[in-house]
């Protein structure tokens, strides 16, 4: 008796467990049934590992953009003749056989037998690296003012008449400026120009491509011909020509605006074509006809059915267009046609690499190339993942 009872109990338990499992599954399915296009896309995107990694990398890079002033130990305008072309600071932990936490030594300059300047660590004094040190004032997002930096060197032990010691993770440039700080500050230009440029071309593409696709006829023909003209220009010479037209001596902000406009001017035609073709395809969909038959106005059809319909494709195309803009801005600045000192960007930083001797003697000056490469690849992979996720209904 007892045994059979135990048996039924256990089988009942199994049944109940099954039932619970089923309920859980049904709940999951219900969630799936109620997820919108963007939620479905996110589900798919998360499965694309490379895209997720790229997203994380980009998130880190853009955090750097926003908090550049805070993270960078040095400000935009700081320099020191002493540290001209200094190599990356060596971080030590042990001084005189005693563990004292992270610190750096001061660099003293000497000359070798060929009369070349060399940097030698002065091992007498230690300059501890501390978090949240006071430094140059900066603004985050243009309104949060502060002078606390994430990390930096405590210069309280500095002998009189010496330049303050700066922590130079990536070494220094010709003017003795910390390259790490400059990479961060430069990213404020290099990583935002593409975003702003993309936004402008997005607006242009939606309006022009939309008009072309919606009205058709001669409007379409004229716009298509204009697009073809734009596309037939070779990009690089056109960039150079347009950048050369930027008047010299204007403010940094204006240069920035000019560059973004040049960037977007060259990338909207392709996007406009994407918009137009999607527009034409979607116009023929049954659900658009159904909306038309129901008396929905043209404007509402565009806003409710057509724009959401191609938005995902457009965003994919935009993402895949960003690397080109990063490279464009970098190469323009590299050639001296983009941002100009005192403003900086990754391209401006790389200007110093135009001479071989510079690269040979100070290889750390190539570090910005790594950042350009990583950002470009990350955007490409992310765009790739998004393309796979763009149409979750297939």
């Amino acid at each position: 008796m007892m045994r059979t009872k135990g048996k039924t109990n256990s089988s009942e338990r199994v049944l109940r467990k099954e039932e619970r499992k089923l309920q859980k599954r049904i709940k999951q399915q219900e969630k799936y049934f109620m997820s919108s296009q963007w939620q479905l896309m996110a589900r798919r995107l998360v499965k694309h590992k490379l895209a997720v990694i790229s997203f994380v990398i980009l998130a880190i890079l853009y955090t750097g953009v926003i908090f550049a002033g805070f993270i960078a130990p040095q400000g935009l305008e700081d320099y020191s003749a002493t540290y001209s072309n200094a190599p990356p600071s060596k971080i030590h932990f042990i001084h005189n056989g005693k563990f004292v936490g992270p610190f750096v030594y001061r660099y003293d300059t000497e000359f070798d037998k060929f009369r070349n300047k060399i940097f030698v660590e002065n091992k007498e004094e230690i300059y501890p690296i501390k978090f949240f040190v006071k430094g140059v004032p900066y603004k985050i997002l243009g309104f949060i003012e502060s002078d606390i930096h994430l990390f930096g060197v405590d210069n309280s032990n500095l002998p009189q008449g010496k330049d303050p010691v700066v922590l130079m993770l990536f070494g220094a440039d010709k003017l003795g400026r910390d390259l790490f700080s400059r990479v961060l500050i430069g990213s404020q230009v290099s990583l935002t120009v593409p975003l702003v440029g993309t936004f402008i071309s997005f607006v242009l593409a939606v309006i022009i491509g939309g008009l072309s696709g919606y009205y058709g006829g001669w409007v379409d023909t004229v716009i298509q011909r204009i697009i073809e003209v734009f596309l037939s220009f070779p990009t690089l010479p056109l960039w150079m020509a347009l950048s050369a037209a930027i008047p010299p001596g204007i403010s940094v902000t204006k240069v920035y605006i000019f560059i973004t406009i040049i960037m977007s001017l060259l990338s909207w035609p392709n996007l406009a074509r994407v918009v137009r073709s999607k527009f034409l395809a979607l116009k023929k969909e049954d659900y658009v006809l159904a909306a038309r038959l129901a008396g929905v106005s043209d404007f509402k059809i565009i806003i409710r059915h057509l724009v959401p319909g191609f938005m995902s494709y457009l965003i994919v195309n935009l993402t895949l267009g960003i690397p080109g803009m990063i490279l464009g801005e970098t190469s323009m600045s590299f050639l001296g046609l983009g941002m100009r000192p005192p403003a900086t960007s990754w391209g401006v930083l790389l200007q110093e690499c135009q001479s071989i001797s510079n690269i040979a003697n100070c290889p750390w000056k190539l570090i910005p190339v790594i950042f350009v490469g990583v950002a470009v690849l990350a955007f490409n992979f992310l765009g790739d993942g998004m393309r796979d996720a763009a149409d979750p209904y297939k």
């Binding site: 099954e18 089923l22 599954r25 049904i26 999951q28 399915q29 499965k47």
Partner: protein, 337 residues
């Protein structure tokens, strides 16, 4: 006793999804005999196409297939599932001994090559190495499926043919190697009514000529009634009823089969409401451990049917059904659709 050409035993196909294991085919067994047409009938998602793809070994990599698919070739039985995927051996069987025709004739041909080119390719692969002979065979095959002017048609491209003509060419191509088994997956669904009838007639006539077995997969009961000798009805990855076409249409046993047949309007019949099966097919993932048709069944008996799934039981000559209602061998009382 007639020999069977193909014997499928307890075929299971599992697909691993993120949400869990999905089993679209849950233990299917049937045989196709020499010179007969077996119809595999069911609605979309019942696993009929996956079953036929499993026989051909062209299922997706994600699918895990278990069971036995025994094909008798020259008197010996080969289990197709044990063969390596895309090995030379299976490829020689596929195309030569087993051939197939699909729903979309247009997408079965490459638009870049002539019809003749594509047909000869198959012949050169399986039949002969002589190019001239291959061309002769191809033209002969085209003639046999009723294509006028085969010499001229041989050199034309797929876009120069209409859908019905292309389906004929596809059939010619499938039959050119004299297969023992032809698998036809909804070959007439995409065609117009008049052409559909032509193709069905052609297949019937060719079956007599070539003496081959046909596994005919479709959801259209009209086609089934006109071409098949035996019918297997599938529901949610299982065969629920199998029997001769006359038995199934005259005296369907399984409530699903009854519902399916009742759903079809017969021309000339009365114009009352059509009988229809209630509800929708449940998601295969959410099946409970009982008869999978339970929730939609009009004849369900709570005492009898609320049990794990029934197996196929013989209820008459050449007629088996998987339903608890027939378990005690008493004829089912409630008649009438």
């Amino acid at each position: 006793m007639v020999n069977s050409v193909l014997k499928v035993e307890d075929l299971k196909i599992e697909i691993k999804l993120d949400e869990g294991m999905l089993t679209p085919v849950r233990g299917v067994s049937f045989e196709v005999r020499e010179n007969e047409t077996l119809g595999l009938v069911g609605e979309s998602g019942c696993g009929k196409s996956l079953t036929c793809k499993a026989i051909l070994g062209i299922n997706d990599k994600k699918c895990k297939t278990t069971g036995k698919i025994n094909f008798s070739k020259d008197g010996s039985e080969i289990n197709l599932l044990e063969m390596k995927k895309d090995s030379a051996e299976i490829r020689s069987i596929r195309g030569k001994n087993i051939s197939m025709i699909f729903q979309e004739p247009m997408s079965s041909f490459s638009p870049l090559y002539t019809i003749g080119n594509q047909m000869s390719e198959v012949i050169l692969l399986h039949m002969t190495k002589d190019k001239k002979k291959a061309k002769e065979l191809a033209i002969e095959a085209l003639r046999r499926v009723g294509i006028a002017n085969p010499e001229k048609r041989y050199n034309q491209y797929p876009h120069e043919f209409s859908g019905g003509m292309l389906q004929r060419v596809l059939i010619a191509m499938a039959l050119v190697c004299n297969p023992n088994l032809l698998i036809a997956d909804e070959p007439t669904t995409a065609l117009d009514v008049t052409i559909q009838a032509q193709i069905i007639e052609l297949m019937k006539q060719l079956q007599k000529e070539y003496r081959m077995a046909i596994l005919y997969i479709t959801h259209d009961l009209g086609t089934v009634a006109q071409i098949c000798d035996r019918v297997a009805v599938m529901y949610l990855g299982k065969i629920v009823e199998i029997g001769t076409v006359h038995e199934i249409f005259k005296d369907p046993k399984h409530p699903y089969t009854k519902g399916l047949l009742g759903s079809v309007h017969k021309i000339g019949g009365n114009n009352e409401r059509l009988f229809s099966i209630e509800g929708t097919v449940p998601l295969a993932m959410n099946l409970k451990d009982r008869c999978s048709f339970y929730d939609r069944c009009v004849f369900r008996d709570e005492n009898k049917c609320n049990r794990p799934e029934p197996c196929l039981k013989e209820v008459g000559k050449e007629h088996s059904v998987a339903c608890w209602l027939y378990e005690s061998n008493e004829p089912h009382e409630k008649e009438g659709i």
